[in-house]
Assembly symmetry: C7
Homo-oligomer: 76 residues x 7
């Protein structure tokens, strides 16, 4: 949308293969290696973990996050 030809999800394209962190609508933060994503912001994460308020982590392994839960996603 616009002259520079960039689209918002291109920011995630560059993050593929690296760790990203997703802030979810239920207040949780999920981090993991981004394997794939789509236009809905569905995310396939490997070695995912839930990141608690104090930085404590709970291992989740391989997960598919349904995109409509995401507030924002970010390379770690």
């Amino acid at each position: 949308m616009g002259e520079n030809g960039k689209r918002p999800l291109d920011a995630l394209e560059k993050a593929r293969g690296n760790r990203v962190i997703a802030n979810l609508k239920n207040g949780e933060k999920i981090a993991g290696k981004l394997v794939a994503f789509d236009l809905h912001l569905n995310l396939w994460l490997e070695n995912a973990e839930k990141v608690g308020e104090e930085g404590n982590k709970t291992r989740l392994g391989t997960i598919v996050v349904r995109g409509d839960n995401v507030i924002f996603a970010s390379p770690e």
Copy 2:
């Protein structure tokens, strides 16, 4: 979306026939053998059970989870 040709739901494709666990928006966790799923993340689970906070389980049997309830799904 992108060069590696992978899509987020491919992660579940590999899980078919095996047990997965789905974290739902109402806070419940549902585990079961994944028979089929679709792009909405509708899930057909066999031998499903609700997994409580302390790991206690309630048998649900065969269920169809409506995809819009899912936060994330994961091979167990």
Copy 3:
């Protein structure tokens, strides 16, 4: 989606004519004989009843459940 050719709602196809129970987003459970359903998970139930916490039942008769209320549905 996938090699086995099964779709998640096929699980309900087998349940048609038999009783199913639907867990709804408002916390209610509705049981009844499944006459018809569609891709939205709209459900036509006969001899439906609301199932309370202690298993107490309230007769509802013939009902159409709007699919977007369903968390999961299951043969009884």
Copy 4:
């Protein structure tokens, strides 16, 4: 969807011209004579009334219920 050729909203087709009761997501129950409905479950009701917890009724007259508010609808 399926062999018997029935669709869930056919249950309402038979109720047209008769009174139905709709349970809404805000907890209200609305009863009235069903004049017309559509695939969204939008409902045109005549002589509609709100039905309170103790069965007390508040007259609403002619109303159009927006379908996305409906949990389930039923012939009275």
Copy 5:
């Protein structure tokens, strides 16, 4: 949908030019002269006013109500 050829929003067609009252999901009631509406139940009301619990009214003038806020609408 059905033999009589009526659709639910036809009930509002007859109300055009007259006052209607809309019950909204946030609990508010808005009354006004219905100038136009569409399939989403977007409403253009003139001389609109908010109707409080005790029937007290707050003048709003000309308004466009976004249809997804409507629970039901009714000729006054």
Copy 6:
């Protein structure tokens, strides 16, 4: 929809270039000069300000309101 050929958003067409006030689902009221809008009720407002309960105002400048937040919009 109907004989008079008017659509609900035509009411905003007349308000363009003038100040409008939008009541949002989160309870906030936002006022500003309407530069552009679309069918989703996305609004481009100039010299926008948040209007508090007691009429106190907070300057926002140029803003784009996402239409799905709007309950109703109105020329001031």
Copy 7:
């Protein structure tokens, strides 16, 4: 929509390359340099930070905000 040919998201087009602030439905405010956006209001922000009630800031870096979380966005 209308004679002047402007669309609401054109307001953001002018802001590209500059800092914008987005008010989100969960009450958070996120500021950052706008690299790209789309019709859903998905936003790619660089040097993003969360802005607290007292103006305190938390660094987020590069983020993609899912558009459906946005109430309004504004050039800073």
